[in-house]
Symmetry: D3
């Protein structure tokens, strides 16, 4: 049932407004057990000179990018071993935590760490899910299966993984990885 009215400064693209409307619809349904069709969202856009707080107008900040798309781009660059491009998605203070790894801070460290573990690896993404925390971090979960070659050249596939990312201002500040690679190695 809820009807949501959003008063928003002009300047957001149709796609931003669609994502905002979807995000709000889902947010309602986290608490109110309504089917999606029962949730109405109305966006009221205002030119910036029609909105005042403290007697002054505000300029709309550019929308954040779609965090799931951003993470999938990062993973694609990393998968293609384009470390330069992949690094652009990382915050300077990024922490990467892989199974049994020490916390790592650069992609070079990560590549080094992985060498004794597998010769190559690829991610088949089955689902990405994002939401905003109460703090500055946008959280993205990405899950699916891994395939690749062990150091001895034999192959694996269908190994489950899940990554949890924290993004601040559209930069990755943290990546936590869980997967079944050790289970798979044990099973060899």
């Amino acid at each position: 049932m809820p009807v949501i009215e959003v008063h928003l400064l002009e300047g957001y693209q149709p796609d931003d407004r669609r994502r905002l409307s979807e995000s709000l619809t889902d947010a309602v349904r986290l608490v109110v057990p309504a089917p999606p069709e029962a949730v109405t969202i109305m966006l009221h856009e205002m030119p910036s000179d029609n909105y005042y707080r403290g007697r002054t107008t505000r300029t709309p900040a550019a929308a954040l990018p779609d965090p799931c798309e951003l993470i999938e781009q990062f993973l694609a660059h990393l998968g293609a071993r384009d470390l330069a491009k992949a690094s652009e998605y990382l915050s300077d203070s990024v922490v990467m935590q892989f199974p049994s790894s020490e916390p790592m801070h650069t992609l070079e460290q990560l590549i080094e760490w992985s060498k004794p573990r597998y010769r190559s690896i690829a991610k088949q993404i089955e689902g990405s899910e994002a939401f905003q925390s109460a703090g500055d971090e946008t959280i993205v979960f990405c899950r699916g299966t891994l395939s690749g070659e062990w150091p001895d050249g034999s192959t694996f596939k269908g190994v489950r993984f899940i990554d949890r990312f924290e993004l601040v201002n559209a930069k990755i500040t943290r990546q936590d990885v869980w997967n079944d690679l050790a289970e798979a190695r044990v099973a060899l």
Copy 2:
């Protein structure tokens, strides 16, 4: 900046309305890069005889429970091996996917499966995160570390885990589990 007005039927508890307001604030910030203080939520409650769709009034549905609290209760019952109580949180068609397990459908199956793997286990939860999917499922991620005893009586602790739950109508329909237990066993 956004100002959100929510038109809601009367009947939701203060705690439900707080959760709704928090959820909407976060939803805005997934797209609009505003600090929390810049997001205003105003709830307008209506008695049910002041809301009409198709010339008829609506009765407010009871709020969904807090999904993070629900999952933590489930895990507490499971940890205490109170399978009867834990089972009440499961949908009839629940699927539980653990590392290297077949899909399991009952807690008894799960206990049986775990026996050769560890003698006892406990979860130290570090964080739970929930959001609503576009579909019927509420998603909860719960992560932290595991401690317990291996079958040989030696112990482990600080083993990372993450669980992903799907809830429909406040019942668990799916649980996916990832953890570093195999890494830990290998490291023995």
Copy 3:
């Protein structure tokens, strides 16, 4: 699609608010080809000291009675020949126009006029329909069939009629009557 918000002073009964919501739903659908379920009405009630025009508050006027019910009550009293009660529904300046009659101004005139036409008459109402004109008049249409006795004692039934009423301040100011009694007489 339209979502209608009504800002209304407190003081209207649930039944008044239901009638208002229905009336507004229908009004939308006269122009917008939406099914009823697509029209949402939200009534926002305000205590009278929260509404100001020209720096002064307003007191809500009592709702008008349901005009269809009012007309059916009038017709019931008239059918029962309780002219005293029926007269209470008439404005002082009422005009009643029956087939081939002169304009009449009292129920006594009407009874007198009808005497040579039928010995008794009863209305079987099939439908009443009301709406507000742009002016002061509320319009009610009431239609169905007549049954009764001709002056010679023979009977008739199933004779179609329609009455059009104008109401101002819940008093009848005009009644126009059409029916097939002349057709029926001719057919004798």
Copy 4:
């Protein structure tokens, strides 16, 4: 007093919005005894990508035509005996009920039925009134006087009539006619 806010998708013409505003003003006054000047209507138009229900946008349906104008056009074509054009206003399942007629379904039937009754006929419309029923039907009442020639060539005029039309999707599905022609014939 009531202040009405209408949230509407962009795409309705000024004339549609005027008719909607008038219709809503009248709808309020059917229940609240306010003079027209006390009823404020504010239309808020939204581009279709700012309105979401169930996470999807809606396209505005074309406004319905003015039902009084539509009926007056139909009657003009019928009066001019342009049966082809008049037929375009009729639903396939139209029912026409004239005084003492059987239910008729085509204009040809109607013309045939009328032949023994009058040689020619013309309508002087005094008023048309329309409103939306709770169902699919828009109701139009049209009233005034008839003039024409009897089969014997003598003339009549000032004979009262009223027509009640039902329209569904801007097509006439039913016409009920009452008039004083039998009274007039009797009076010859």
Copy 5:
């Protein structure tokens, strides 16, 4: 024409809300040349647990007192030479500027300064006017005429005066006084 909607936390008294509505009506008319009757104010009160900014609720602050009444009370106490009570209206850092005086900071200074100027004095207030500055200061203008006795015992009356007050948090921080006493002395 403007219609003003105010979303306000519950807790303001009817008199506060009346003053707010009047103040807003006047504020509109400073820019829009509308008669008062054309300005509609609707106050929507919310319980504090229905308003969130930054995910937290707010408590309504107590309304400020009517500044004109406050100044008239201060002047009444001062006129009655009740310096203790009058002093309660003054900020610790008050500045009082009278014609040809140095800036004064206490009522005792003021009384001392006035002694050679008049033996007694009384204010006949003709009008008080208040408005809020863009800063912290509420401004009150109070004007009328003075009557009293000169040091030589002769009397004066009808001498024009105007006082300008600045209030911060309902305490007087500044008083500027202009009057025609010097004109009147010269005219002796």
Copy 6:
């Protein structure tokens, strides 16, 4: 805290809307002790064919000019002794009340009255403040210091003054002046 929504016909310039927003912010703070940053103003503009009262649209009236600017222009023309231009700011029925003067009605009268009092005079404006009364009058207070030459050619400066203006329809209908010139003369 208050959030103010203003429904306004399209046609007001950005500067008019800024002045309106500032005026409303201040009006709120006259009663609610909120810092300016806590007051949100949202202007919703409507094309004139989306606003109806009494079934008819309204045309927006041109905004009133900034009253402080208007008064400063008037005083500048008067200071430059451009009586023709200054007179354009006066209503036909203007009343000007200076210290010890009779009520005056023309600038020529005023100039005549001032001749024995000073040979020349100039205003250094320190502040102008405007607000709308409950009636038709906009009130402007203008204060600062005077400098000039006495009739004997000696000079004065730093003499405090305050003017109170009433404006109706952007024409000055009343000017009341207070200053310390008599104090200054006495002090010679």
